[in-house]
Symmetry: C2
DNA sequence: TACCGAATGCAAGAATATTTCGCGTGAAGA
DNA sequence: TCTTCACGCGAAATATTCTTGCATTCGGTA
């Protein structure tokens, strides 16, 4: 796999390859090569280089939550009481360690954390809030937004190409 | 690739396979087979079945935004004026069509939409708000949360296994 | 008991990925 | 200007992985 991670320079070829891979990374290198006007080995070298530099952070399958018994997606804003570095780091570690917390960001503004949570039932969510928020002395309050429609979901980054 | 999408039953083997693919879909089927106690062809048939049923919605590379010149991630809550079906659908289509909008959910609660936006600069974000929010008569107000730290990012669904 | 459908493992064949090698290009220095 | 060197390329050979056909096994059912 990949290890090192010094920033590297990317040219138009690399961006074009990334644009394909972030939509479908099962695309054969030969096909990618035809699309960007490079040979398959050239494509493969560039991909490996970007994986080693962690430009490509992972290669993953996207699973439909509804079809695996986790039909509820919830947005939560969390406001903490104290923003000392220690307490914030502790909160980051705790939130990140919870499988139901699919995404978590530490943010500026009226809230301190925003997160995306995936659960099977509202009961499960209620239990999670009890453990994660009510059970944390540093959580001042939190606001819940239940998703009715996943209008757009993905991790694709807009690339200039 | 995949086409149909009737819901299908998943057993413990399928969930175990999904759990591996969610983390690294470049794992050889032979290795997956060893991990879940199945032969490689059995694994492959199950994967194909789940792709056809859209349990696996996509296979994608995850790109580091910072390394491709898009270092700013922003959370936005949007509140609309009118919630008629037509206007909501129009908003969904518009938001979904914008490349900078990485994720968008239609939600209950104090806001109507929440979204994740990826941009290269705050100037670019300001221009986007002008076009997307100030330029939309149905947007009552929006609140911005700038991410200081991407504590946890991914699309992995918690699987019971 | 006998049958039938579904899923499996094995093994062969096809497709894909990876390595190797030699060539051309462009930059730095004599 | 010439030489050298580093870099990235493509073509071909090699290795790995994926895919398919087939016989078998395991349950459920008449």
């Amino acid at each position: 796999m990949a290890q090192a991670s010094p920033s590297i320079a990317l040219d138009a070829f690399d961006l074009a390859i990334l644009n394909i891979l972030q939509r479908d990374n099962s695309t054969p290198q030969r096909v990618i090569g035809e699309a960007v006007n490079l040979s398959a080995p050239a494509v493969q070298r560039r991909i490996r280089r970007m994986e080693e530099a962690r430009v490509i952070q992972a290669n993953v399958a996207v699973v439909d939550p509804a079809q695996v018994g986790q039909p509820i997606t919830i947005f939560v804003e969390v406001e903490v009481i104290s923003e000392t570095a220690e307490l914030i780091d502790a909160a980051k570690r705790e939130f990140a360690s919870v499988p139901e917390v699919q995404q978590c960001y530490y943010v500026t503004g009226e809230a301190d954390f925003v997160m995306v949570i995936v659960v099977p039932t509202m009961t499960a969510y209620e239990a999670l809030t009890r453990r994660l928020f009510f059970g944390n002395n540093n959580v001042k309050r939190f606001r819940t937004f239940v998703a009715m429609d996943r209008v757009k979901v993905g991790l694709a980054v807009p690339l200039s190409d």
